[in-house]
């Protein structure tokens, strides 16, 4: 049993919120450069080069890549041999978010209730926290700020097994087609297959934590990912929806077993500002 004081978590979360918003992953930069070479549209090329310039500037000026610094999505992998002491774990995470969003000059984008009052909570809390218990005595923390523009293009559908993989592919491609320029393409497409209604959505979100450099470890899904990516990039939407070949940088699938009667499919759309940073305590 390893004791960890929850106060240790606060500065870690604070830093992850700031770093995720200032510094885009190398994988995104590499992919955009790759697609720049292949882009046929002049406007599309122009947009991609401005995005690259923006990632450089944000890191240099220490300013957020995008003004929508998102809701703070926090994934926790909690080792089962960890004993958390010194206070409330969830409150410690929220305090880290509060400090990160204040000290990093990040935008506060949370409203207290979704429809009646919609009053800004002014410190970007509460964080959206997902905790998995795993073997070991460490805590892995991932902060993934998620912007509204791309999140709003996401969807869950309870499909039938008879729809087959073709049905899934069509649903995903159609979802991206209907999104057009709204989610700030080029996008990254997270797909959750199986589980149940809510788990499919969480799988889709978690899939977005993969690096764009990595192939799906399961060749069966890697093939489907490639097929969907090709179809999406044939839609013509292009960078920012202004027309072109670069609509998506990658497609990620995560799947889980499900009920014999069900086939839940979730699409979580992520913009090019695919922000996530991790740390281990």
């Amino acid at each position: 049993m390893r004791q960890i004081d929850v106060k240790e978590i606060i500065p870690v979360i604070r830093k992850l919120c700031i770093d995720a918003n200032y510094y885009i992953g190398e994988d995104v930069i590499k992919k955009i450069k790759e697609f720049y070479e292949k882009e046929e549209s002049e406007t599309g090329k122009e947009v991609l080069s401005i995005l690259l310039e923006n990632y450089e500037l944000s890191a240099k000026e220490k300013m957020p890549i995008c003004q929508d610094t998102g809701v703070a999505v926090v994934f926790i992998e909690l080792g089962q041999d960890v004993h958390l002491v010194g206070g409330d774990f969830v409150e410690a995470i929220n305090e880290g978010v509060r400090q990160g969003y204040k000290d990093g000059y990040l935008r506060k984008s949370m409203v207290d209730d979704p429809i009646i009052e919609r009053k800004n909570t002014k410190d970007n809390t509460p964080a959206l926290i997902y905790t998995d218990i795993v073997p070991g005595d460490k805590i892995k923390i991932t902060v993934a700020p998620k912007g509204g523009g791309s999140e709003n293009m996401s969807e869950v559908k309870m499909m039938k097994a008879a729809d087959g993989i073709e049905g899934v592919v069509d649903f995903v491609v159609d979802r991206i087609s209907r999104s057009g320029g709204n989610p700030c393409p080029p996008v990254v497409v997270g797909i959750g297959l199986g589980g149940d209604f809510e788990q499919s959505a969480l799988l889709a979100k978690k899939s977005l934590l993969r690096s764009l450099d990595q192939k799906n470890p399961d060749p069966k899904w890697a093939k489907v990912e490639e097929e969907i990516l090709e179809k999406i990039n044939n839609l013509g939407i292009g960078p920012q929806g202004l027309g072109g070949r670069t609509t998506a940088l990658g497609v990620f699938i995560l799947s889980k077993p499900c009920h014999i009667a069900s086939m839940p499919v979730a699409v979580n759309v992520q913009c090019h500002a695919a922000r996530h940073k991790s740390a281990v305590i």
């Binding site: 599309g44 000059y105 935008r107 320029g181 700030c184 839609l235």
Partner: protein, 184 residues
């Protein structure tokens, strides 16, 4: 062939008439910011025949909710927000004299028709290129609805604010034509 144009605000009709979808534009001068909540209030004022907090004739509204300004900067990161949320309000503002909107993503046919009627345009700024845009903003001050926080109306002084013509005064739409061109 897309061209590069430099515009000064307030915008002039003859200059807008020369713009075509796909043109790269750099805007210099005063522009105003506004998102959903501010738009709702502006349209309510127009409905009551009351004065707006700024003279809208020939003006530009930029759909943005900026990040807080870090020390020594006039504004934080300031990329565009999704424009369709402003579609219900845009025609009333265009009728009142607004000449251009800057945002991201396609507009509804109603807004496009209103742009043709009022000889106005829509510019796409690059979503997520928020530091590049912020660098073009030299001064920013809140002029109305401070209570709305990031959604308050700000007056911005911009120099070579970068954007692309998405809808011209002739009813053309880059979001349709661009996609058609590259679809396979």
């Amino acid at each position: 062939m897309p061209k590069t144009k430099y515009l000064q605000t307030p915008l002039k009709e003859d200059e807008l008439a020369q713009l075509q979808i796909g043109d790269k534009v750099f805007i210099t001068g005063i522009i105003y910011t506004g998102r959903d909540a501010a738009h709702k209030r502006l349209v309510e004022l127009l409905e009551k025949n009351e004065e707006l907090p700024f003279d809208i004739k020939g003006q530009v509204i930029y759909y943005v909710g900026p990040a807080p300004a870090p020390p020594g900067k006039p504004i934080g990161s300031a990329g565009p927000t999704t424009s369709y949320r402003m579609d219900p309000y845009a025609p009333a503002l265009l009728d009142a004299g607004l000449k251009a909107m800057i945002g991201k993503g396609p507009r509804s046919q109603l807004v496009i028709d209103s742009m043709v009627k009022n000889k106005a345009v829509y510019f796409a700024a690059i979503g997520g290129a928020a530091v590049v845009v912020a660098e073009s903003i030299k001064e920013a001050k809140v002029i109305a609805y401070e209570d709305l926080g990031t959604e308050a109306i700000r007056e911005l002084r911009v120099e070579n604010f970068p954007c692309i013509v998405a809808n011209d005064i002739y009813g053309k739409d880059i979001y349709q034509e661009g996609v058609e061109k590259y679809k396979r």
